[in-house]
Symmetry: C2
Subunit: 156 residues, 2 copies
């Protein structure tokens, strides 16, 4: 039985660069797993080999256990590019809850983050959002007001 979320994996081309990026937006390293070269990993993920280096990160103060599983593949080498469009099928965005999105986006712009839109956008019903890309093109979203949103159609 599924108990809870564990992690979302972001595959990167340079683990140390990506760690610096995520630390810069307010996450911290929870655990450095370091280098693995495992037949089990290869088989579980249907890859020719399972050689990778890994760190787990989460927002400072997050109660856990949810983390980002930041992975740099060593063999096979990282391939392809992140989805060009958010309308692509598959896992397309990772969103973080913020309490003051105006201040957070101003801070991140000051730190050099480029957002997909110049302004924070209104989604309606008190929800506001802004998104940007990580160094390998994975889309990170900031969202304010979602947890407090009134359900129009709660459950089914």
């Amino acid at each position: 039985m599924i108990r809870d979320f564990s992690h979302v994996t972001i595959s990167c081309s340079d683990l140390e660069r990506s760690i610096r990026f995520y630390e810069g937006i307010g996450l911290e390293v929870e655990r450095r797993i370091g280098e693995l070269d495992s037949d089990g990993v290869a088989k579980a993920f249907a890859l020719p080999r399972g050689h990778l280096t890994v760190a787990h990160l989460r927002p400072c103060g997050s109660p856990g256990p949810m983390t980002i599983d930041l992975v740099q593949w060593l063999d096979p080498a990282p391939e392809g590019e992140a989805y060009a469009s958010l309308a692509n099928l598959g896992l397309t965005r990772l969103a973080f809850r913020v309490e003051d999105i105006d201040r957070t986006t101003a801070d991140l712009r000051g730190a050099g983050v480029t957002f997909l839109s110049d302004e924070v956008q209104e989604f309606g019903r008190g929800v506001r959002s802004a998104a940007f890309k990580d160094p390998d093109g994975a889309v990170i979203q900031l969202i304010e007001g979602l947890a407090e949103m009134k359900d129009e159609q709660p459950g089914k």
Copy 2:
């Protein structure tokens, strides 16, 4: 400031089919946001239009607020395919914590889920894993023992 995880977005081609799939693996609908057609969504995500239908799901009993943001794009239409390889750059896997992976995988195989490997795989240090694809090819991972794993290099 980033407070915590909010959601991970999975873009699907048929929302009702995907809801049934995720309910079948042990998630529940927390909130049906329904159809949105929002300039704010379009701008936030750098898309020509922001017309989509959405449901939020989470594992039964999860304390939240982390959810899957299950999205079917209506305009623009869903495009592309999910990454063919887990070594692709970008968001590649969503993992759930399970307490008895042998039983969970047996139950899911019985319910028709096809895993990427025939057996549960050992990752070392007590961590065991198995992965499968959702109806649109997003990779879902089950993991046992990760939260209890001893850190070899905690923090930095």
